[in-house]
Amino acid sequence: MRLELRGITKRFGSLIANDQISLTVEPGQIHSLLGENGAGKSTLMNVLFGLLSPDEGDILINGVATRISDSGDAVRCGIGMVHQHFMLVPVFSVTENVVLGFEPTKSFNRIDYNAATEDIRRLSRQFNLEVDPDAIIENLPVGTQQRVEIIKALSHDAELLILDEPTAVLTPQEIDALMEVMRSLASAGKSILFITHKLKEVKAIADVITVLRHGRIVGTAEPTASESELATLMVGREVKLTVEKSPYKPGDEVLHIRDLVVLDDRGLVAVNGVSLTVRAGEVLALAGVQGNGQTELVEALVGMRPVLSGTITLHGRDVTHLTPRKALDAGIGHIPEDRHRDGLILSMSVADNLVLNTPRRAPFASRGTRNLAAVSENAVRLVKEFDIRTTSIEAPTSSLSGGNQQKVIVARELSRSLEFLVASQPTRGLDVGSIEYVHHQIVEHRNRGNGSLIVSSELDEVLALGDRIAVMFEGKISGIVDPSTSRESIGLLMAGHTMEATSV
């Protein structure tokens, strides 16, 4: 299918999310749409998939101007979308999910599951998308769920596939497998729109690269362009892609976790006997695909989740069963993975959020009364020091951009003297400039001789920050390696292979 967008414009109030976007996807082409969060990629895809209607511009399918007013229209036009957050019903089988909305039926409106299963088998053979039609979605690994999404789109006769940040939740091996599938789809004549902000992947797979910034197309590039050229185009200025660290000089043991067992919300064992040690002046990076127990481990460390068994000691002191407040008092700083849920109170001001971890302490309060002058003074100082872009210290935190919200948290946690820093997905959803900044702050903290545990599902981040790298899989540590280890080896650990010999 040949898809052409002409002058697509979409406004939300005074904000122009898409400004005169024009691009063409040829049949059999893998077209990459590269841009930072907030560049307008998602808006554009929602316009294309009928979830938003454009204010201006045309969509041409095989040369014919077409109106797409809902996702049903999009599917009938041959457009299939693999959403970043899968649109699969977790308790349904693969077959039920694939047929949903397009069910083949027999008498009495019954669904003809045999026909559907046949169809799935045929597609999975044709495009090498191995999947069991009877499996229940929630029991499948994320990579397989994504295959189901692709099969779903193909079963609706999609000729153009939109893949929205498809690699965000995959292991390196799953990413390779996905790229294979993309190539085989393209060679079968399907067009692919591949949305991402990851430069390596774009270079590996794209035929054509279109770069979006602030809602506009700022250029196109060949896959032969260097990563730093692409990054410069995407961000609009030159960026450093590596973090500079002082030499690794580990000191005394700071944090010691032994045989930790923690349950998740469903009462299942999420952390299954984890033992880790972090030294002074060291960043221990915890890698792993999301959902392998990292969240629960961190929550247990900061007192947000009860520990079933095992011990945690900080400078030899037992901190296993602390409440969150006691954990703060013990000097544990925490950058949570979901800043909106656990990091900030969005409706409160920047100034108040900057003292959330020490509201009862001098100088911010005394004898049960807040000292607002000290709170303001603190806010003014930190806003300047950490370069938080806000209209005022009294502005609600919700009015800040994601990057600046994260800076509020980083400022709050790192501006007091810490014994230990726990940071979980510290740069998720941030633009390249903010990532640079947050990384710099974490490394500064380490260079001052402090211990940190950084959890990330981004391999680049893990490799950039970690002095040692622990990999977590299904609640256990599948290996601890040093950062010179190849991406492939770490990828294998992330997929559950174990190390025969631990060399570190």
């Binding site: 049903g72 959403h83 649109m87 019903v89 977790p90 308790v91 999910n97 069910e103 009462g267 294998l492």
Partner: protein, 432 residues
């Protein structure tokens, strides 16, 4: 460095927190010990009671089963031991599935032990025989009403809308049904009226929770309170001054030739009012529609993951409207069925059956078949809470009437097995 080893296959760590299962096992064991020592060993060695199975109206029974006399002591000792054995099995093996079924079994055994003990002779009871068939027939009206309510709940909650208003739909159906049946002397018209008024209340619930995304629980509770008040007012203004509108006729039983003469099963299943047969058919129809048809797949998708449903062109709001109105109609029909079994409409006489039906829905894990099983257990215990008075049991019937709620609290608290409602149950849907 060598990293290669066999990758692990499983996805989630299969270790389940065993503490809850143990709590259940201990509870079951306590029930067993109680049965063993109070009902069993607590009864004199010579006490006996008998079970009878023939319907009260003996003329209609072609085959007589006679009665089964038994020693209360040994029967209840055995029942107690069986319960303890089940408890031990749960404690030791910690089965991942079927804990709830075992718990239901324990509840049933306990009720049997309670009955045989209550009727023991020599003892305070007037009669020493327990007529199983008449208990089943007697409780069938309650069970029927609960099933209508639970099916209504299944329809609504599977599509993601909580229908707390079932009690209100019962009231509306019973009130209007009584008026129509009294004036036309025709229960079919009454049923139509019940479907209409229940559907209308459903529509109001749907309108506020879907259009204005109000809290569904609050809208539901408001509706129940409002209908309670309205029915009091109208009873005072209309039914009391004009008794012809509320003559309290009871729907006649329609015996199915042949089948109705089967011992036990016949009187319970095949000599019932038309409403009972409609209820049985409805259970099958709802099950079939939900789990076999395209419509049902859409409903369940909307209740589990509305955005996914919308992404393939399913109109989430429309599916919910349809289901809430249909579910309301079913509950309205249940109200008429209640009236047709109890007679004359009275203020407050649905006495919270709508909430017991919701409890049955949860106990039955949002499945029609499971809900029916729960309705039978709950219906029996509601009926027995009245019936036990005739045995002069020194325990208040009100305490036994608490039984369904106690079980439900245990279920909802996750004590017995893990219940999982439809993921989007009660969540307002907003297109983005």
């Amino acid at each position: 460095m060598s990293l290669l080893d066999k990758p692990t296959e499983s996805i989630a760590p299969p270790l389940v927190n065993s503490r809850r299962t143990r709590v259940i096992a201990v509870l079951m064991a306590l029930v067993g010990l109680f049965t063993l020592f109070v009902f069993g060993l607590g009864s004199g060695a010579k006490t006996h009671s008998s079970l009878t199975f023939d319907p009260i109206n003996v003329v209609s029974a072609p085959i007589k089963l006679g009665s089964l006399s038994m020693s209360v002591r040994w029967t209840d000792v055995v029942l107690g031991l069986i319960i303890i054995a089940l408890a031990t099995e749960v404690f030791v093996r910690q089965p991942r599935r079927g804990v709830m079924a075992r718990f239901g079994g324990v509840a049933t055994l306990f009720l049997i032990a309670l009955l045989s003990w209550a009727a023991r002779s020599p003892g305070p009871s007037i009669t020493s025989s327990v007529n199983i068939t008449s208990i089943l027939v007697g409780s069938s009206a309650t069970v029927m009403v609960l099933v209508f309510g639970a099916l209504s709940g299944v329809m609504c909650e599977r599509s993601g809308v909580v229908n707390i208003a079932i009690e209100g739909q019962f009231i509306g159906g019973a009130f209007l049904g009584s008026m129509i049946a009294s004036t036309t002397n025709n229960f079919f018209y009454a049923a139509i009226g019940g479907l209409f008024v229940g559907g209308l209340i459903g529509l109001v619930l749907a309108f506020f929770s879907l259009r204005y995304r109000s809290d569904q629980i609050i809208v539901g509770v408001v509706l129940v309170t409002m209908l309670g008040g309205l029915s009091s007012y109208l009873t005072l203004q209309v039914l009391t001054p004009f008794p012809n509108f509320n003559t309290g006729d009871i729907a006649p039983n329609l015996a199915i030739p042949g089948l109705s003469r089967i011992p036990i099963l016949g009187p319970v299943f095949f000599n019932q009012s038309g409403f009972f047969y409609v209820m049985m058919i409805l259970v099958g129809v709802v099950s079939f529609a939900l789990f076999k048809t395209r419509y049902g797949l859409h409903v369940r998708a909307v209740g589990e993951h509305p955005r996914a449903a919308a992404s393939v062109g399913i109109n989430v709001i429309r599916v919910r409207y349809i289901n809430v109105v249909l579910g309301g109609a079913i509950a309205g029909l249940g109200g008429v069925a209640f009236m047709a079994a109890q007679g004359q409409f009275q203020v407050g006489y649905t006495s919270g059956y709508g909430y017991i039906a919701l409890a049955a829905l949860i106990f039955g894990r949002w499945r029609p078949s499971g809900a029916v099983v729960a309705c039978i257990i709950f219906g029996l215990s509601v009926y027995l809470s009245y019936d036990l008075q005739t045995y002069q049991v020194p325990v208040s019937g009100y305490l036994l009437a608490m039984f369904p709620y106690l079980i439900t609290i245990a279920v909802v608290a996750g004590l017995i097995g893990r219940v999982r409602p439809p993921a989007a149950d009660g969540q307002p849907y907003q297109r983005d």
